[in-house]
């Protein structure tokens, strides 16, 4: 059953990939499930290790990131200072723009994804990312958006927007991204 679901997932993923026009995505074979069996090929009988077939785990979730959620040309991202979770004027302007969007689409829901730069402890950053997302949720609620429409999730430092080890990259990574599930 589980296997079948995975195969179905892969098929629908392939369809999605085929339909996706922007960046030319993987060739046909790349998303086929591959049995992860570390013992084979290693020649190691160590511990009876044997992988399970999860090659496509998270594939659908990862694909979400390729969608463009910007409405009206405003990037739906709020940035934060180091170790901070307060919203500055620029962030508030982004929030105000999307409050108007949410008011115009009363059935739309919103997901707030909190992120951090990769300095410091990854688990503490998970909590800090949630604090940032909740700060944005508070601002949306204050503007009258029902909290039932808002979902908060933290990715900690695990999904950086920029990969560099410098302040320019870090400042891009301390952020909350707004997403609008269909």
């Amino acid at each position: 059953m589980r296997q079948k679901m995975r195969v179905a997932l892969v098929s629908s993923l392939s369809v999605l990939l085929a339909a996706c026009s922007d960046p030319p995505v993987d060739d046909a074979g790349a998303n086929k499930p591959v049995v992860v069996d570390g013992a084979a090929g290693m020649g190691m009988n160590n511990g009876g290790l044997k992988g399970i077939d999860l090659n496509t785990l998270g594939a659908m979730a990862a694909l979400e990131d390729e969608k463009n959620y910007a409405v009206g040309g405003v990037q739906p991202t709020i940035y934060f200072g180091l170790d901070q979770f307060t919203i500055d004027g620029k962030g508030q302007a982004v929030i105000n723009h999307y409050v108007r969007y949410l008011q115009s689409k009363p059935t739309a829901s919103i997901v707030l994804e909190g992120h951090c730069d990769d300095r410091g402890s990854s688990e503490y950053n998970m909590a800090l990312g949630e604090r940032r997302a909740k700060a944005v949720k508070d601002a949306l609620s204050f503007a009258g958006i029902a909290s039932a429409r808002i979902r908060v999730v933290s990715f900690g430092e695990e999904r950086p927007a920029a990969e560099g080890n410098d302040e320019a990259s870090w400042s891009l990574n301390r952020r909350v991204e707004m997403k609008f599930p269909q």
Binding site: M42, N46, G48, A62, M126
Partner: protein
């Protein structure tokens, strides 16, 4: 688990020892694949000569150079300074077992060994440890019927036997390391792999691949399962997976954060961070019933909980004083909370050594984020790393080494520090790797 383990063999008599012919020919198999930097420190480091195993040439794969595996293991511990093979006299290696020579070279300990091919890619290996100062043979052990792929494991067991005989402390080399590898699929999309390797980073095996992040790996005490955090459903969940791939279960997927799992020593419960109550707090889950008990109640961030050695209390990170600091609370009375760190404005990711003596954590100081140890008896803390982006410290089973990850210009690196700060070793794991979790001793299973 693997059944490999050595048996005691007849000891040489002293007379035999002195006239026994040492290996016919020294083999130039020395390799510096793993670089150990000695970074200073005051504790004594013991000189030991591990000579090339006789008949090493019968083993074709150069990754199975037993003497070099043992030297690398012992160096990584920070308690030994193994003599380089290139500095050993070829004449001595080719001739008599001359303890005078090793004494003259200031080598207090000598390890000699011999490999015998048994046919069908099987080997018998003998290892002897000799104290050169008093001519005492301290270890004489035989590994019989070792298949070629398990020769590295046999060497790690030899290192453990040597380590224990000399220091009186348990070994840690025949154990495994779990960690997360990040790969780029077609140079773009990230793929996250959960891997398990030997404690020196060799023989990696992939047990899970995901397009979404994986983090915070914790071993079950019997070494049969891993708990970790997966974002496969676009939110953090705690997964428990058996290493044989037969079972995989999401055990915590509540609203908000489900993270930082830490297995108890009896294998029955998991500490975890959940924010379902409105802010991140520590809970303990009875794995069988999934019943939760809340252990912290502050409105601040509480996360990264680990067990104390006696299982009666937990160490955790809280920013209830404004910045992350390490606290301790007892399970019997969770309202009784004690702060443990006062130096440094940021102290996070605690982990306790198995003997209950030490805490390791990451401290932010002028040089960045650094692995720091704290003696829980005296309270004194010491920054022991020279890198500055440290994360995820994890004690070896004997508490004498700490694995952790940091970033260099190529990406994540997993390194091992001796707890005394003397030795720093990058593990031989290629690629972008992070979040090491040191598993239990393989023999303990």
């Amino acid at each position: 688990m693997m059944q490999l383990s050595g048996i005691s063999i007849n000891r040489f008599t002293k007379a035999l020892l002195l006239c026994a012919s040492l290996w016919g020919s020294a083999q130039a198999l020395a390799q510096d694949a793993v670089r150990v930097e000695i970074t200073g420190g005051t504790e004594q480091s013991l000189p030991i000569a591990v000579t090339p195993f006789k008949n090493q040439v019968a083993v074709i794969n150069p990754d199975f150079n037993l003497a070099q595996i043992i030297r690398d293991d012992l160096a990584r511990s920070g308690s030994f300074t193994p003599m380089k093979e290139s500095e050993m006299s070829a004449a001595v290696l080719a001739g008599e077992l001359n303890l005078d020579y090793w004494r003259k070279m200031l080598q207090d300990y000598l390890v000699i060994g011999e490999i015998r091919a048994q046919g069908g890619d099987m080997y018998q290996v003998d290892m002897r440890l000799i104290n050169t100062l008093n001519n005492q043979e301290m270890v004489a052990r035989r590994w019989n019927g070792v298949s070629a792929p398990l020769l590295r494991t046999a060497a790690h067991q030899m290192s453990d036997a040597i380590y224990t005989a000399v220091t009186g402390r348990g070994g840690a080399f025949d154990s495994r390391m779990a960690y997360v590898r990040v790969e780029r699929v077609q140079g773009k999309r990230k793929m996250f792999l959960l891997e398990v390797a030997d404690s020196d980073g060799y023989a990696p095996r992939t047990i899970l691949r995901s397009y979404m992040p994986l983090m915070s790996v914790s071993w079950s005490p019997d070494g049969s399962k891993l708990a970790y955090v997966s974002f496969e459903n676009r939110r953090p969940e705690i997964i428990v997976q058996s290493l044989d791939g037969r079972s995989r279960q999401s055990v915590a997927a509540y609203e908000g954060i489900n993270s930082a799992p830490a297995w108890s020593a009896d294998g029955r419960s998991l500490l975890m961070t959940l924010s379902k109550g409105g802010n991140p707090d520590i809970y303990v889950m009875d794995i069988e019933s999934k019943r939760l008990t809340q252990l912290t109640f502050d409105a601040a961030i509480e996360t990264e909980a680990v067990w104390s050695a006696d299982g009666q209390s937990i160490f955790f990170n809280s920013d209830r004083r404004g910045q992350p600091q390490i606290f301790q609370t007892s399970l019997a009375n969770p309202r009784d909370v004690k702060r443990l760190t006062f130096e440094g404005k940021y102290n996070a990711r605690p982990v306790a050594s198995g003997d209950g003596r030490y805490l390791a954590y990451v401290r932010q100081d002028i040089g960045g984020f650094k692995v720091t140890t704290q003696d829980l008896v005296s309270g004194s803390a010491k920054v022991i790393s020279t890198t500055g982006t440290d994360e995820s410290p994890s004690f070896s089973p004997n508490g004498d080494m700490i694995a952790y990850s940091y970033n260099d210009y190529r990406g994540g690196v997993i390194a091992v520090l001796s707890r005394n700060g003397r030795a720093f070793t990058k593990l031989a794991i290629n690629g972008d790797v992070r979040d090491p979790a040191w598993g239990p001793l393989n023999n303990s299973q």
